[in-house]
């Protein structure tokens, strides 16, 4: 990377690092944001997707870089080894990749032309190739050869796909469906290795899909949120997408393993599920066998507003790890809360936080008034600062 590129983008990472997911070149956890000198020789990173312990980065030309845990082939380099340094996915050169998603141990890539590729762990059929094999190189999902794809979302053991354009059935799912996370049947479908239609979203204009843990969600153009899969905070699992009864139009969604973050169009953040930061802080959590609190099978959704500071401070971006949350405010602050045992909150310690705390980055002054963007993997976090 030349000096000019280096000045255009700053990258910081922190949290769990034992699989090389922080791209620091070492396998250490970092409890404060660590400035990463060089990530891309192909220009500033456009966006990141962080999974269980690996990361997928998109460059301006639609190239893909990966690093972190690679033991199931999720890095797409044709081998099952981890890497603490970013490497370009050569198998995808020749395609302009426009959307990527990193799951627990698998990866999805969507090209400009609507082709979708998957690699990594396929044990539950989450790669969509009709078998339970793992793939060390990105392999095109043949099922979508004549159905152009726009987005992919990879969860712990499942995958969601959003088709391009206006179609009757916009969303498909494959992989594990044990908790209802595929939304393909009112029956308990253990798993499917071939894509199936996610029900209940017929003719809706879906603008984004999300998957993490055993949760799934989709956001429609009018700001309606649909959720399915594992119930939040001990609520029953939902086998068909269900319109969430939030009282405001939602503009962005981020899912954890036990919580969802919702960003309203007014810039307020709400949390669905755990009243502070997921199940870890919920002393009321009972064994699943005793989940009788949700009366009459009604999914019990606890929505809590997260106060990010003075009333005039608005949130512009959100991200969720398995058990931690991060967001960016309109004054450029990076805030985190939730589980902190691996330093994933970036606050210099390993404490949990039930209220948002401001994360300090070193060398930040060099990026002037550029707006940071934050991304969370299971137990780690990344920030990108790009000068426009």
């Amino acid at each position: 990377m030349d000096e000019e590129e280096e000045q255009r983008q700053g990258v910081w990472s922190w949290g769990a690092g034992t699989d090389g997911q922080l791209a620091t070149g070492s396998l250490q956890d970092e409890i404060i944001p660590r400035f990463i000198r060089s990530l891309s020789a192909y220009g500033p990173i456009v966006s990141l997707s962080c999974g269980g312990a690996h990361v997928i980065a998109l460059t301006p030309g639609g190239r893909v870089l990966t690093w972190g845990r690679g033991t199931s082939g999720q890095l797409g380099h044709g081998e099952s080894v981890s890497s603490s340094q970013a490497n370009v996915v050569k198998e995808l050169e020749g395609f302009v990749i426009t959307h990527v998603s990193a799951g627990w141990n698998h990866s999805g890539f969507v090209s400009e032309t609507g082709a979708i590729f998957t690699c990594g762990d396929g044990s539950f059929g989450q790669l969509g190739h009709g078998d339970s094999n793992s793939q060390l190189y990105p392999r095109q999902v043949a099922y979508f050869a004549s159905k152009p794809v726009e987005q992919v979302a990879c969860g712990m053991r499942h995958t969601l796909v959003l088709l391009a354009g206006n179609v009757e059935h916009p969303v498909y799912g494959f992989g594990s469906g044990k908790r209802g996370q595929l939304g393909i049947s009112t029956d308990n479908v253990k798993s499917t290795s071939l894509p199936q239609i996610t029900l209940g979203l017929e003719n809706l204009k879906i603008i984004s899909i999300h998957a993490n843990g055993d949760h799934s969600s989709a956001l429609s153009a009018d700001g309606s949120l649909y959720t399915w899969g594992r119930g939040f905070r001990g609520a029953l699992d939902t086998y068909i997408p269900c319109l969430s009864d939030v009282a405001f139009p939602v503009s962005k969604v981020a899912l954890g393993w036990n919580h969802a973050l919702l960003l309203s169009r007014e810039g307020d953040v709400f949390m669905l599920g755990g009243d502070r930061h997921g199940a870890l802080s919920d002393p009321q959590k009972m064994p699943s066998t005793a989940d009788t609190s949700s009366s009459a099978g009604e999914p019990e959704e606890n929505i809590t507003q997260i106060i990010s500071g003075p009333a005039n401070v608005k949130v512009v971006q959100i991200a969720a790890g398995a058990e931690h949350s991060a967001f960016i405010t309109d004054n450029g602050s990076i805030m985190t809360l939730g589980w902190g045992e691996h330093g994933q909150l970036g606050l210099g310690d390993t404490n949990d936080q039930t209220a948002p705390q401001v994360v300090c980055l070193d060398r930040i002054s060099a990026w002037g008034d550029a707006t940071p963007r934050v991304y969370c993997g299971s137990g780690f976090s990344f920030v990108l600062m790009t000068r426009i």
Partner: protein
């Protein structure tokens, strides 16, 4: 407090670790060995953090002289309702 309750059939047998595993939110894996299960242990621990899982299983399935195979059924390749 246990992070979650997981049935043994939802755990994966890891040949390298010689243990049943389940994803931990820290990025590592909760682990429990067949010997643990034979002894009636129901806590699967993560080597990287303080979290642990409660494993739901039938102890009889893991006794020495049981005829049953201890490994859980492999995920089916095609849709099964």
């Amino acid at each position: 407090m246990s992070y979650d309750d997981v049935e043994i059939e939802d755990m994966e047998w890891n040949q390298e670790l010689q243990a049943f595993t389940y994803p931990c939110p820290c990025g590592d894996l909760f682990q429990i060995t067949k010997e643990d299960l034979r002894l009636g242990e129901e806590i699967a621990r993560c080597p990287s953090c303080s979290l642990y899982l409660t494993v739901i299983y039938n102890m009889e399935d893991f006794q020495e002289n049981s005829n049953k195979k201890a490994e859980p059924p492999k995920p089916q390749p095609v849709a099964v309702a």
